[in-house]
């Protein structure tokens, strides 16, 4: 399964998660299954917003997929989405946001489903199965 020469599904993927282990697993798993050439792990949603905003006129450098956690200190996933909506079209049109959370709360799921920027709502942990589901979105 681990074939270094395999073509990648995506060029760049951003992982926003305050949990260091989860970020590590995500990076490892994505790399292992050649899901993306590059992984940009970010600890804070605030940092993520800053980066995305900075890259708004550099289409090539914008991530194609953003894996977003919900429960994070400083700024939660939903708070991030509110700010994200204010970013230039260049960003919001290119990026696909997938919510990746441990939450089994139906309310969270419903809020997420209603948000136009959320493409998927998936539960942790991130594994091969999860990646397969994301790939279906493409």
């Amino acid at each position: 399964m681990t074939d270094a020469n395999k073509t990648h599904a995506y060029k760049r993927i951003m992982v926003i998660d305050d949990n260091q282990i989860d970020r590590y697993i995500a990076e490892k798993t994505i790399k292992k299954y050649h899901f993306s050439e590059e992984v940009v792990p970010l600890e804070s949603a605030v940092d993520a917003l800053e980066q995305l905003s900075a890259l708004s006129d550099k289409m090539e450098e914008l991530p194609e997929i953003i894996l977003l956690d919900i429960n994070m200190p400083e700024m939660s996933g939903f708070e991030f989405l509110e700010k994200y909506a204010e970013l230039p079209d260049t960003v919001t049109k290119k990026c696909i946001i997938v919510m990746l959370t441990t939450s089994l709360n139906e309310d969270d799921r419903m809020v997420a489903e209603k948000n136009p920027y959320i493409h998927q709502f998936l539960n942790k942990p991130l594994n091969e199965e999860t990646l397969k589901k994301i790939r279906l979105v493409k």
Partner: protein, 872 residues
């Protein structure tokens, strides 16, 4: 031919007519003609003196004028001729003396003419008088000339103006004749008139006949004709017939009417059943009396005349006072009306109604009595009979309620109403005529005896008694009896007893009294205050408990507005409340408000008020007040603690949420690491360890999820939305597959009915379904070659059925009851937390559904959940 008179004069003067000269002869002829003419006219005029008609007068006047003019002309001519003769004809000198004679003759004629004129004037005056009088008297006159021919019909007839009118003609408008006359005589009378006229003509006697006329327009008239025949006394020749005709229609008619009325009155007087009589009171004699007296009194008019006292003699002794009483008013001239009885001659007693009209002289002395008496026995009898029966009826009815009995002086029943049977069981026939005490309760006999004594002693007075009667069937009833002594009353001649069964009433009253006293004591002893207010909310009743509750005495509250003893702060609330009470008659309204005691301390009061103004038994607004100060305080405390609890609950909710997240997040990370580690090694021992780690972590995660679900189900309100079962089942299955990768050999069949429509709580249904499906997978039978889970959703009455069926290890029947208990696990091998089915059961109940289990060990299980369409 010369006039005889002239001829005589000429002969006298000339000796012989032959000796008269030719010229003179001619002249004489003219004079003679004129004279003749005049003579003829005179005759006509003379005749017309007796006739009467305006035309005649006119004609005469005309004639007179003409004659006068003519005569004047003649005389002038004559004079002229004479003067010529005198002056020029000397040859005739010899005749001069004769001429003077002739002149004398002319003067004579002139004189004669003058006389005649005077006579004519007189006649004309007479005529006009006659005309007027004829007209006024409706008398016309006529004259028939009999000298002309022998045929009476051909003779000239003359009518006066009034005659024309009587016969229906305009005066002078037609030529009159005998035929014309008869054409107007009534055909039935023509013979009479003709014969009368003929007889008169024959005998020459005057006739006087009444006959009718029939005019063409149908008018009938009656006329009286009187006529006389004139004869030449010497020759006996008939000269004329002169008559009058008088219209007597009106006179005859009124006379006829009078006769008829008289006849009718006579008949009436003789045939009328009332007696009319007149008495001369000065001589006390009966002036007249109608024959009806024979019918009414049996005595003839003659007998009454012979005995002037007869009318009073026949009056019954006891009724004479009636007549005596009318003596004075009658003498005062007043008309009297009275009724009394008489002995008819045949021995019968008759009722007489009499009316008397006295006539007094100016001094006030009674002169005459005119009276009418009629037999009114029949009417009187009927009246009396009616009175009697009415009296009887009234006596019976006035005091009766149910059974009525009449007993005689010996207490023997002589009458009993049919209602007796209904009350006592005896028919009237069974009791009438027999005196018996068997109907009365032994113990009540003395009471009844006393009662009867009292009744006997007080005729006409009703007395009431309550006693017991024994019915025919032996049962005892309580009766209310009213007895009245009517023994003195000839219409009844008995004691009227009526009684009614009041057993029921007494019982009801007793019950009512009991319940009323109960109710009263309830009100009085109740800690509640009860008030009744009128439509203006003025208190008309207040229970004594008001003192205990508020310190006010009832007297202090009565008449006040019911809201006055409440806290002024609450007025607005109370006003609104009262409006609501008034607007909803019969519906109790509840209000809790603050009210003040007399000492000013506030209490909380629960008030229930019902508008019963429409209820005739109450006709008021009833309020119930209860001091709930203590209760209110508790409630207040409860509400407060509830609020706290709610807050705590919410905090707990948030806590559970974050805890579950905080618990799950590291677990999830752990699982992520384990799963990644598994992909990094091929060392079987290592893999086994990792698998054990993973299983353990999953179990812990499952546990957290279960607790989360449980707490969520308990606290979170139901939400309703349309459930897309296909999508829901798919999601659940995908999630489970993802979680249980190791059991992917279990076949999952899904059957969702397209018509299975439901509005329910999606999250909860998902919990139910995922629990059941994951259980089915977890406990699949590894011995079976084709393990499966079948998920079915289909429509079932009032909702849907959701079935999860498997061919897993199954559950033995003895454990069916327990599997829904919390923390129950079927065996030690069970991997679950023991909370899953408990959550399923709780959640189903929350959704108002039901759950059934069919399961057999080693065969499989089937959970059938019915969910109703409407979860609210």
């Amino acid at each position: 031919m010369l006039n005889k008179l002239l001829l005589r004069q000429i002969t006298k003067s000339f000796g012989d007519t032959d000796k008269v000269p030719e010229e003179l002869n001619k002249l004489f002829q003219v004079i003679s003609d004129s004279y003749d003419h005049y003579e003829k006219d005179r005759k006509m005029l003379e005749r017309s003196i007796e006739l009467t008609s305006k035309e005649m007068i006119e004609l005469n006047n005309k004639l007179r004028k003409e004659t006068e003019e003519e005569s004047k002309l003649v005389f002038d001519k004559l004079k002229e001729s004479l003067s010529i003769l005198k002056d020029d004809n000397t040859e005739f000198a010899g005749a001069a003396t004769d001429l003077s004679k002739l002149s004398n003759l002319a003067d004579l004629l002139k004189e004669e003419t003058k006389k005649r004129r005077v006579a004519e004037n007189e006649r004309a005056q007479r005529e006009s008088h006659l005309e007027a009088s004829q007209r006024i008297a409706h008398i016309g006159s006529w004259e028939l000339d009999l000298t002309v021919t022998d045929n009476i019909n051909a003779n000239p007839l003359h009518w006066s103006a009034e005659t024309y009118r009587i016969f229906g003609f305009e005066p002078g408008s037609v030529a009159v004749s005998n035929d014309l006359f008869f054409s107007r005589v009534h055909p039935d009378d023509v013979e009479l008139v003709k014969s009368t006229v003929a007889r008169s003509l024959k005998t020459g006697d005057q006739y006087d006949v009444d006959h009718r006329l029939l005019l063409p327009d149908g008018t009938e008239k009656i006329v009286r004709e009187i006529a006389e025949v004139f004869k030449d006394h010497k020759t006996g020749q008939l000269l004329k017939m002169v008559g009058t005709v008088q219209d007597i229609t009106e006179r005859v008619r009124s006379q006829q009417d009078l006769e008829r009325i008289n006849e009718a009155l006579k008949t009436l007087f003789e045939n009328i059943s009332e007696v009319y009589y007149s008495v001369d009171t000065t001589s006390y004699t009966l002036l007249q009396m109608s024959n009806a007296c024979e019918e009414v009194y049996g005595y003839t008019v003659e007998e009454f005349k012979q005995n002037p006292n007869l009318w009073l003699d026949v009056v019954l002794e006891e009724d004479k006072s009636v007549i005596a009483a009318s003596e004075i008013p009658m003498r005062q001239g007043r008309t009297i009306e009275h009724e009394y009885r008489i002995h008819h001659k045949n021995g019968e007693i008759r009722w007489i109604w009499s009316k008397l009209k006295p006539t007094l002289d100016p001094d006030g002395t009674l002169l005459r009595l005119d009276g009418i008496s009629a037999d009114v026995s029949k009417r009187k009898e009927a009246e009396l009979a009616l009175k009697e029966s009415e009296h009887k009826f009234r006596s019976l009815i006035e005091y009766s309620a149910d059974a009525i009995m009449v007993v005689d002086e010996n207490s023997v029943p002589v009458y009993a109403s049919n209602s007796l049977y209904r009350i006592m069981g005896y028919t009237p026939e069974e009791v009438i005529g027999v005196r018996s005490l068997k109907y009365i309760h032994q113990d009540d006999l003395p009471v009844l005896e006393k009662h009867l004594e009292r009744v006997r002693a007080n005729p006409g007075k009703p007395f009431t008694v309550i006693y017991r009667r024994i019915k025919k069937d032996g049962s005892i009833i309580r009766c209310e009896g009213v007895a009245i002594n009517f023994l003195h009353d000839p219409a009844i001649k008995g004691v009227v007893v009526n009684f009614r069964d009041i057993t029921e009433r007494v019982n009801t009253e007793r019950t009512l009294r009991n319940s009323e006293s109960k109710f009263r004591s309830l009100i009085e002893n109740s800690s509640d205050v009860i008030t009744v207010a009128d439509e203006d909310m003025n208190i008309v009743f207040v229970s004594d408990s008001i003192y205990r509750m508020t310190g006010f005495l009832p007297e202090e509250i009565l008449g006040l507005k019911s809201m006055l003893f409440s806290d002024p702060e609450e007025y607005g609330k109370i006003n609104a409340f009262i409006q609501q009470v008034l607007a909803n008659p019969g519906i109790p309204q509840k209000l809790i408000y603050k009210t003040l005691k007399k000492d000013g301390t506030a209490i909380w009061c629960e008030r229930v008020t019902t508008n019963l103004l429409h209820d005739p038994a109450i006709n008021g607004i009833v309020s119930n007040f209860r001091d709930i100060t203590e209760q209110y305080k508790y409630e207040q405390a409860l509400r407060e603690s509830n609020e706290i609890l709610k807050k705590t609950n919410m905090e707990l909710d948030r806590f559970v949420y974050s805890v579950s997240h905080d618990l799950r997040a590291p677990l999830s990370s752990m699982l992520g690491v384990i799963e990644f580690a598994e992909t990094e090694t091929t060392d079987t021992e290592m893999l086994e360890h990792l698998s054990m780690l993973k299983k353990s972590a999953r179990k812990l995660d499952g546990f957290v999820v279960d607790i989360l679900n449980y707490s969520r189900n308990a606290r979170v309100d139901l939400e309703s939305e349309k459930i897309d079962f296909k999508a829901l089942v798919r999601d659940v299955v995908n999630d489970i597959r993802h979680m249980n990768t190791g059991n992917s050999n279990v076949q999952i069949n899904i059957q969702v009915d397209d018509h299975a429509e439901l509005y329910s709580d999606k999250a909860r249904i998902k919990i139910i379904l995922s629990n059941l499906v994951s259980n089915a997978i977890r406990y699949h039978d590894p011995q079976k070659t084709e393990p499966f889970v079948k998920i079915c959703v289909y429509r079932k009455e009032g909702g849907i059925d959701l079935c999860v069926e498997d061919n897993g290890i199954g559950i033995s029947a003895d454990k069916h009851e327990k599997i829904f208990d919390m923390f129950y696990r079927v065996s030690k091998k069970s991997e679950g937390t023991g909370i899953g089915l408990y959550i399923v059961k709780e959640t189903v109940e929350k959704l108002k559904g039901t759950i059934h289990l069919h399961s057999e060990l080693e065969k499989g299980s089937e959970f059938i959940i019915h969910l109703p369409t409407n979860i609210n």
